[in-house]
């Protein structure tokens, strides 16, 4: 495994040169943040508050270390924060409703030697799982759409809000497609062992539709898609707002 890591580092430096060091540094901070999150939750800190704080740290690193244009980075960061807040807002009632927390009967073999009275709120952890799952997708989508839109706006500064929204959707179409693919293929990756096991357990269709693990995976994929979809209007709004502010300042002078 160490060799695998070494292979990655060598290839990264060969392809990206010194930029690779910044990349490695950013990844390192993200990994450390995640480990900190795990340890804090295990120590009994409130799961949702801890996840929220660590998620903000991760977004700062993921966006500001990867985007050189300050204006784009600011808009993308604001978008990501709003999306994350929205994801929390819809995930909390949905998880409460669906009760798809923790592990299912399919995990029984793995759980044999464990004390199940863990003292951790797994319903809250289920919400944290969806938020963390979305972080990478959300930050990438918001950066891609912001930089695409900013480029259009800087070329023709007299855009109306409708035009900016239309441009947002034309930039967003392709990104929505590729991100949905990423989410969908990762759903395939996570669920084929599960479905294989479910078959050997002889589940009926209605059992599968209500199965805790299946529902949890589908909810994660769907809620992340909601985040990607909402990135477009929010980014368009923020970009329009900022372009207007700049215009007002110019007329003041």
């Amino acid at each position: 495994m160490l060799y695998l890591f070494a292979t990655f580092v060598v290839l990264l430096l060969m392809v990206t040169g010194t930029r690779g060091l910044t990349l490695l540094f950013g990844l390192g901070i993200n990994v450390i943040s995640v480990i900190a999150l795990l340890v804090l939750i295990a120590d009994g800190f409130n799961i949702l508050v801890t996840t929220g704080i660590i998620a903000i740290v991760i977004l700062v690193v993921a966006i500001y270390m990867n985007v050189e244009n300050g204006n784009t980075a600011n808009t993308a960061f604001q978008t990501s924060l709003l999306i994350m807040a929205f994801i929390l807002l819809i995930t909390i009632p949905l998880e409460y409703w669906a009760g798809a927390q923790g592990m299912g009967p399919e995990n029984q073999d793995e759980l044999e030697s464990f004390s199940l009275a863990a003292g951790i709120s797994f319903p809250q952890l289920a919400i944290a799982i969806i938020v963390i799952n979305s972080l990478g997708v959300i930050s990438e989508t918001s950066v891609a759409i912001t930089s695409g839109l900013n480029e259009i706006v800087s070329n023709k500064p007299t855009l109306t809000p409708t035009e900016i929204f239309n441009d947002g959707f034309s930039v967003g179409n392709k990104i929505l497609n590729t991100q949905t693919n990423t989410l969908l293929f990762n759903f395939f990756s996570a669920t084929f062992p599960l479905f294989f096991l479910i078959h050997s357990l002889g589940y009926k269709f209605t059992d599968i539709l209500n199965d805790k693990l299946v529902v949890a995976e589908i909810l994660t994929t769907l809620i992340c898609t909601v985040g990607v979809i909402l990135t477009v209007p929010i980014t368009s709004f923020l970009v329009y707002h900022k372009a207007n502010k700049v215009k007002l300042k110019k007329t003041d002078n």
Binding site: M1, V15, G26, M103, G136, S139
Partner: protein, 356 residues
Amino acid sequence: MKKNIRLLVIVGLIVLLATGLTYFDSFLYHDPVVKVENVVITSKQTSTDEYKNTDTEYTQKVRAKLLNTDKKGQTVSFRNTYYNSQLTDTKYRVGQQVILTKSGKGYAAKNLKRDTPLVFTFGLVIFLLYCMKFDRRKLFISVLINVVIYFGYLQIIIGTHNSILLPLTVVTALLISATALLVILGPTYSALMAYSSTVISTTAAILLSVFVLSMTGYSGMHLELDDFELQPYLGVFLSQVLFGVLGVILDETMDISSSLIEMKKEVADVSAKTLFKSGINIGRELIGPLINILLFIVIAENLNVVLLYLSNGNSVSYTLNMTLSLGIAQLLISAIGIVLTVPITSFISSKVITRR
């Protein structure tokens, strides 16, 4: 505009109707389904285990009305115990629908009925898509075709008892990436370029990683600890890597090749060398965010089991070793793929574009 609002209202109503229907679909179930009417906690016991985890075990007596079977309308009651942390058990609340099984003369809770929130969330995604001016048709077609392919894949691995898992995964990966590219880019040269780059990069990354890993005999990797300990271990692991990384590599190859095509349009006599260099420059910016996407997906996937290990008094390093070693290996192979994609795509695109 009026037409849009009418369409939106229709979609909204269909979503609400579908969600509502799942609320009354208990007649489709073989097992008895009940609606909880009253819950009384009959005992409560707080305990602290050897790892200093404090948890409370509750027993609740649930009274509920049968919604299906020939005893429909009758009231039944059952007992349910759960820990406050609810790792594998569930606390039932008034108003929830619960699927039961018969145990002796009485009933026992089997599972929560979750199809209503599931359909609602699905409907929410569809509704949001209709609220906005996205090109929905393309999205629906590609998702639908890919889900059908995945369904076929599942049927075959089940039918062959997982014996030809890896070759099947490769074929499926080839099919789903072709579908995605054809729907997004259409049958164009750039789709073909992106496809060949994706295939070559992914193959190179996996072969290289398997070579490096086998040199050390897969030391430090707990292949046997994959999801549900499904066999063959290596096949399952590589299949998961392949599906996981495919989406981001497709994203990357499409970005690089379409930017280079744009460049050729603007500067007609651009040389292959210049194109290759710009490809590397564009790709360099993509690597970080794409690795991040997979990093968080992989971590989130394992969060439950990581916290179970940690709360059972295991050290952080032992926990990470047991629960995340496969995830980290998956991430490293994916990262190698993401990095390799940059020069491979730039090379292929620059050659093909200048030749045409």
